[in-house]
């Protein structure tokens, strides 16, 4: 069962892509271009808001942001 925090992140991504109704936890957000370089900053902002943490943009590990599963493990576990 997913946390409310990762649900917020999923909803934010789906809100940007109305052609999609669902998003599996293992979909690569970057390779699939669901999140591009401009939107990546917004994704970080959304995660910060949902997790109540501050993320150091200069020291980001991109693998933490690859899929909903990796985001959940890194920020909502």
């Amino acid at each position: 069962m997913s946390s409310a925090g990762i649900d917020k992140v999923r909803d934010w991504i789906l809100g940007r892509h109305p052609e999609r109704t669902e998003l599996a936890a293992d979909v690569d957000l970057i390779e699939s271009r669901l999140v591009d370089s401009l939107a990546f900053v917004e994704l970080v902002y959304t995660i910060e808001d949902a997790a109540g943490v501050e993320i150091d943009f200069d020291n980001i590990d991109i693998e933490d942001f690859q899929t909903l599963a990796t985001i959940e493990k890194a920020f909502f576990a």
Binding site: S37, L38, V41, I62
Partner: protein, 159 residues
């Protein structure tokens, strides 16, 4: 011999609209430095969508010169300011400057244009490092015969 490099990027003005949304308005400060925000305003002080979109496109175009595919764009470390004669001038700092040094990058030039709801930017430079060779074609008999392979320096950054 120096390796020529080129990067290009396109930003729809509608993306700037989203960033100016009051709900996420402060987000623009994550992309633009205080100095860039100052020079991205209309004469009456409102955010200038075209200038903002042009700067964002230029930052991504410059990022594509840095050879950092798959890493986040260091938005604050690539500043697009007013250079001599009104041309865009680039100032690198932090991680962007480190990447440029590691790539052996020479001076960077940028050109920006906007029309019909889009901003486009092209960045050029050269590197003392030679580009990695492309893999050999799998069907050499049907491939054009080039004595040297050339590779675009413009793979999308992150993503």
């Amino acid at each position: 011999m120096n390796q020529p490099l080129i990067g290009v990027d396109l930003v729809p003005l509608s993306r700037v609209d989203e960033l100016l949304d009051p709900g996420i308005g402060p987000l623009l400060r994550k992309y633009l430095s205080p100095e860039e925000l100052t020079v991205s305003r209309t004469p009456d002080g409102a955010p200038d969508q075209s200038r903002i979109a042009g700067r964002l496109a230029a930052k991504e175009a410059v990022f594509k010169l840095l050879g950092a595919v798959g890493r986040p764009v260091p938005w604050q470390g690539i500043e697009v300011l007013r250079g001599p004669g009104g041309r865009p001038g680039i100032r690198l700092s932090g991680r962007a400057a480190e990447l440029a040094r590691a790539a052996g990058l020479g001076p960077i030039d940028v050109s920006i244009s906007h029309d019909a709801g889009f901003a486009i930017a092209v960045a050029t430079s050269s590197s003392a490092r030679s580009a990695p060779s492309l893999p050999a074609p799998s069907h050499p008999a049907t491939s054009p015969d080039h004595s040297t392979s050339q590779q675009s320096a413009t793979p999308k950054g992150m993503p």
